[in-house]
C-alpha cells in the first residue's frame, strides 16, 4: 500500500507507514536515554513515569521524535537490504563508507571530514573522550541536552555551566569566559530542551573568539534539530567546521529523518578533529539497514522539506493554542516547544495531569522545572487532542486558583 505525501501532510498514518513509523521512529527513545542516565546516577532507581488511564492509547509527545517516521524511500531501501542481512557493514552494498561519502559531498567536504556514530550519542561520547579530561573541563549552557554532562560524570570531567539568557537562548557572552582552558565547549543549536537557536553569525563570532582566546579548546555544535529551524533564526556552522581546527558539528537521523530507532548519526568537521574522533569509533558501529535508509533519505530532500513544513504548521497551531490560554512559548526552531506554564503549575503537575488525559509530555528540566514544560510536536491530529487536554488541565487549575 502506498502512502501519498498528502497523506503525510494531513497527519494520517495508515497501513505500511504507520507500522514503519512506530518501529523506526522509536518514539520514547530520547526519554528512554534520559531515564537510563538518571537511573545510573541514582543507583538503579527508575524515574517515576506518569500513569495514563487503562485502555487509553497514549499520545507520546515527550521525547522529540518525528511521529511519522522515515519516508517511503528509506523503507524501500531497507526492504531491499534483506538479502544482505548477513553481511558486515564493510562488505555490504551500499557500504557504511558510501554514507560518509554522500554526507561529505552534500556538505562540500571530503570523506575524511565525516565519521559515523551509533546515533549522535556515540559522537558526543567520543568527543568527550577525545577532548576532555579531569584537567580539561566541559563548558556548556544549562539546561541543554544532558548527554555530554552525563559522560562527564562518568569520566570524572569537571563541568562549567552558563545560564541561558532571558529568552531561554544559549548565552554566548556568558559561555565565552567558561570556554577558556576547556577541553570541549558543547552547544546544542537549536537547544534541547528550550527549542531556541542562536544565529549562524552569532555562533561564528563566538567560535572565532574561542579560537583566539583558547585555541586548544574543541567546540562541538549539535545540530540535531536544524532541519526544523527557519533560516532567519538559524545557520549551520558546518562550512566553518570544515575549515576550522577543533570545530565539529554533530548531526543525527533521529529527528526530521524519523529514524531514532535506527541509531545513525555523524560528526562533520575539520579533518584533524574527525580523525581523532574516528579512532574512538566502535568498529562496524552502524547497522547496514540503517545505512541504506539514511542514504535513501539523503537522496530525497523534498521529504525533509515537507516534514519541516508539516512540523511548522502543527507547531504554530500548538503554540497558538497555549498562547490563547495565556501561556507563552519560546521561539521554537525545533519539533518541540518550551512553554511557560509557571503561573499555573509545575512541569511535574502538568505532566501528571496530562497523563490522566492520555497525553505524555516532557520530563523535568532543572532548574526550569517549576515554570517550564517541554512538549514535543506530534501529528496535527495528535496535537488537536493534546491541546484539548491542555485546555482542561490548565484551565481547571487557573479557575480553581482564581476562586
Amino acid at each position: 500500500m502506498s502512502v501519498s505525501r498528502r497523506g503525510f501532510l494531513q497527519g494520517q498514518i495508515v497501513g505500511r507507514s504507520r507500522s514503519a513509523a512506530e518501529f523506526m521512529a522509536a518514539r520514547g527513545h530520547e526519554e528512554h536515554v534520559a531515564e537510563a542516565m538518571q537511573q545510573g546516577r541514582q543507583g538503579g532507581r527508575a524515574m517515576s513515569r506518569p500513569q495514563t488511564p487503562p485502555g487509553v492509547e497514549a499520545i507520546r509527545i515527550s521525547s522529540n521524535e518525528n511521529p511519522l517516521g522515515p519516508g517511503k524511500a528509506a523503507i524501500d531501501a531497507i526492504l531491499g537490504k534483506f538479502p544482505e542481512a548477513n553481511r558486515y557493514p564493510f562488505n555490504s552494498s551500499p557500504l557504511d563508507a558510501d554514507l560518509e561519502i554522500l554526507i561529505a559531498k552534500l556538505n562540500n567536504g571530503k570523506r575524511e571530514n565525516v565519521t559515523l556514530g551509533v546515533g549522535s550519542q556515540e559522537i558526543l561520547r567520543n568527543a568527550m573522550r577525545v577532548f576532555t579530561s579531569s584537567a580539561r573541563h566541559l563548558a556548556e549552557a544549562w539546561p541543554t541536552f544532558e548527554n555530554c554532562s552525563g559522560v562527564a560524570r562518568q569520566l570524572g570531567v569537571p563541568v562549567k555551566n552558563a545560564a541561558l539568557d532571558a529568552n531561554q537562548k544559549t548565552d554566548l557572552n556568558a559561555l565565552l569566559p567558561l570556554a577558556k582552558g576547556a577541553g570541549l565547549v558543547y552547544i546544542c543549536n537549536p537547544n534541547n530542551p528550550t527549542a531556541t537557536s542562536v544565529t549562524g553569525q552569532a555562533l561564528t563570532d563566538f567560535i572565532n573568539e574561542v579560537r583566539k582566546t583558547s585555541p586548544t579548546t574543541a567546540i562541538l555544535v549539535d545540530e540535531a534539530y536544524s532541519d526544523y529551524a527557519s533560516p532567519s533564526a538559524f545557520g549551520s556552522v558546518i562550512p566553518l567546521a570544515l575549515t576550522t581546527p577543533n570545530v565539529i558539528v554533530a548531526k543525527t537521523f533521529s529527528k526530521a529523518y524519523g529514524m531514532a530507532g535506527v541509531r545513525i548519526g555523524y560528526a562533520i568537521g575539520h579533518v584533524d578533529a574527525i580523525r581523532k574522533m574516528a579512532r574512538y569509533r566502535m568498529p562496524y558501529n552502524v547497522n547496514t539497514f540503517g545505512v541504506a535508509a539514511a542514504i535513501a533519505s539523503l537522496k530525497d530532500p523534498q521529504h525533509i522539506k515537507d516534514e519541516a513544513a508539516r512540523n511548522t504548521a502543527v507547531r504554530d497551531f500548538t503554540v497558538k493554542a497555549l498562547a490563547d490560554l495565556g501561556h507563552k512559548s519560546t521561539d521554537s526552531q525545533t519539533n518541540f516547544i518550551f512553554t511557560d506554564i509557571g503561573k499555573t503549575m509545575t512541569a511535574a503537575a502538568f505532566r501528571d495531569a496530562c497523563a490522566k488525559h492520555g497525553v505524555l509530555v516532557g520530563r523535568d528540566f532543572p532548574p526550569l522545572e517549576k515554570q517550564w514544560a517541554r512538549i514535543s510536536i506530534g501529528t496535527m491530529e495528535e496535537m488537536q487532542k493534546a491541546t484539548d487536554a491542555f485546555r482542561q488541565v490548565l484551565r481547571s487549575t487557573t479557575t480553581s486558583a482564581g476562586q
Binding site: G40, A85, N285
Partner: protein, 399 residues
C-alpha cells in the same frame, strides 16, 4: 590531506600496537578502520564470492526477515523502544533457562564489540594488563592500546590452540584475560573440561583477574567435548561470556550481541556500554534477534546451520588435505590452513578471480590463510580458484 590506507594504518593501527605488545596485536579491526577511509576496499560486487569475514552465507532465515517485513509494512505492532530491549533480554534468558539465567544476567550490546570494549575498559588499567593469545580477535587489544592500557600476548601452541599453561602464567595479576574459543583466526577449540580447569586455576592463582570467554563461534563447534561457560559466568563474578548474532544467526549487518555474567559484573559493564547509558541499540537488531531466538527455541535452527557448515567445512578441509596443505582442527565457520605461501599473494590472486579471502594474521601471514566457509556451491567454485592459484605456485616452486 588525503588519508591513504597506509597512512591511516600507520597512525591508528599497526604503529600504535608496535609500540606496545611489540607487534602484532591491534592490527585488527582493519576491515572497519580501513573501510573508514577506503570505500572500495571491501565492496562486494555481484558475482564475487566473499569468504573473508566469517559471516554466515545463508543469513537469518525467512522467519526473521518476514517478521521485520511485517514491522515495516504493517500488520505487526512494535513495542515501546525500551520494551523491545526487555523482550530481547527475556528471549536470551529463555535460551539459557536450563542454566537458570535471568534477565539481569544479560547485557545487550551493539554486536559483541561493545561488550569486548566495555570489559577492557572496566577490568584493565595502566597497571593491570590485558592478556590474550597471538593471534586472536583483535578488538580488546586494539581498544586497550587506544586507552593506553598494556597488552600481553601469549603464543598459541603447535596446534594453533590456546596454550593454557603459559596463558595462566601470563594472566597472573592481569586485569582481563580475553579467551576466544573457538579462536579467531585459527578456528581451534579448547575442550570444555580443559577450559573449566583453566578457569578454576586462574581463579586460584589470580583471584582478581576477570576472564572474558568469547563464544562468538560456539554454535559451530562439533567437538564432542564442548559446553558453554554461561553456567560458570552467572555464578562467578570474574567470568563473562560474550555472544553475537553475527555468526550462526546470520545477521552481522544488524549489530546485535550480548554478555552473560553475574549480576554484579553486568552492573559494572553496563556503565560502559552505550546500550544502557545512551540507548544505542537499533530496532532492527533487537527485533530480528528476538525473532531469531524464538525461531530457535527448540535449537533446530542452530543445529541445521551447524550441520550445513560442517558439511562445507569437511569438503573444504579435505580439498586442502588432499593437496598436502594442512588445516587446523577447525571448529568454526572458517578454516585456518597452511598454504605454504604468503597470505597476501594468495589473497591478491584470488581477488583477481573474484574470490575475497584471507587477510593477514601475523605472525602467521607468511604461510597461513584464513578462509571463511561460504555455501557449498560457493566453496565448490572457490576451490577451483584456489587450485588455479595455488597449483601454479606449487608447480613453479617444484620447478
Amino acid at each position: 590531506m588525503t588519508l591513504s590506507r597506509r597512512t591511516f594504518v600507520r597512525t591508528v593501527g599497526v604503529g600504535a600496537s608496535a609500540a606496545l605488545a611489540g607487534n602484532i596485536w591491534g592490527r585488527g579491526r582493519e576491515n572497519s578502520l580501513w573501510s573508514a577511509f577506503e570505500p572500495d576496499l571491501h565492496a562486494v560486487e555481484r558475482g564475487v564470492i566473499c569468504i573473508a569475514s566469517n559471516e554466515n552465507p545463508v543469513g537469518p532465515g525467512k522467519v526473521v526477515l518476514d517478521h521485520l517485513r511485517a514491522l515495516l509494512e504493517g500488520g505487526a505492532k512494535p513495542g515501546r523502544y525500551s520494551g523491545q530491549a526487555g523482550d530481547l533480554q527475556d528471549a536470551v534468558a529463555a535460551k539459557f533457562a536450563r542454566y537458570n539465567v535471568k534477565r539481569e544476567n544479560v547485557l545487550l550490546s551493539e554486536g559483541s564489540t561493545e561488550i569486548l570494549r566495555a570489559a577492557t575498559q572496566v577490568f584493565t588499567s595502566k597497571t593491570r594488563p590485558l592478556v590474550g593469545t597471538i593471534p586472536t580477535y583483535e578488538e580488546c587489544a586494539g581498544y586497550a592500546e587506544l586507552i593506553g592500557h598494556p597488552v600481553k600476548g601469549v603464543k598459541l601452541n603447535s596446534e594453533f590452540k590456546i596454550d593454557l599453561d603459559p596463558m595462566l602464567a601470563a594472566a597472573k595479576g592481569a586485569g582481563l584475560v580475553f579467551y576466544c574459543n573457538p579462536n579467531n583466526p585459527t578456528a581451534t577449540y579448547v575442550g570444555a573440561k580443559a577450559t573449566r580447569d583453566f578457569l578454576q586455576k586462574l581463579n586460584a592463582s589470580s583471584p582478581e583477574t576477570t576472564i572474558l570467554v568469547d563464544e562468538a563461534y560456539f554454535d559451530y563447534v562439533t567437538d564432542a567435548d564442548h559446553e558453554t561457560h554461561v553456567p560458570v559466568a552467572i555464578e562467578n563474578p570474574h567470568v563473562i561470556v560474550a555472544r553475537t548474532f553475527s555468526k550462526a544467526y546470520g545477521m552481522a549487518g544488524l549489530r546485535q550481541g550480548y554478555a552473560i555474567a553475574h549480576v554484579d559484573t553486568i552492573k559494572k559493564l553496563r556503565e560502559w556500554t552505550a546500550s544502557s547509558g545512551t540507548g544505542s541499540l537499533n530496532v532492527f537488531g533487537m527485533a530480528a534477534a528476538t525473532a531469531a531466538l524464538q525461531q530457535d527455541a527448540d535449537g533446530k535452527f542452530t543445529a541445521n546451520e551447524r550441520a550445513r557448515n560442517k558439511a562445507v567445512r569437511e569438503f573444504s578441509m579435505k580439498w586442502f588435505a588432499d593437496r598436502g596443505m594442512k588445516p587446523t582442527d577447525c571448529q568454526a565457520n572458517f578454516m585456518f590452513v597452511n598454504i605454504g605461501t604468503p597470505a597476501k599473494e594468495f589473497r591478491d590472486a584470488c581477488r583477481a578471480k573474484a574470490v575475497l579471502v584471507a587477510r593477514d594474521f601475523p605472525p602467521f601471514e607468511k604461510t597461513m590463510a584464513r578462509i571463511t566457509l561460504g555455501t557449498m556451491e560457493e566453496m565448490q567454485k572457490a576451490v577451483q580458484v584456489f587450485g588455479e592459484v595455488l597449483g601454479k605456485k606449487t608447480t613453479s616452486a617444484a620447478a
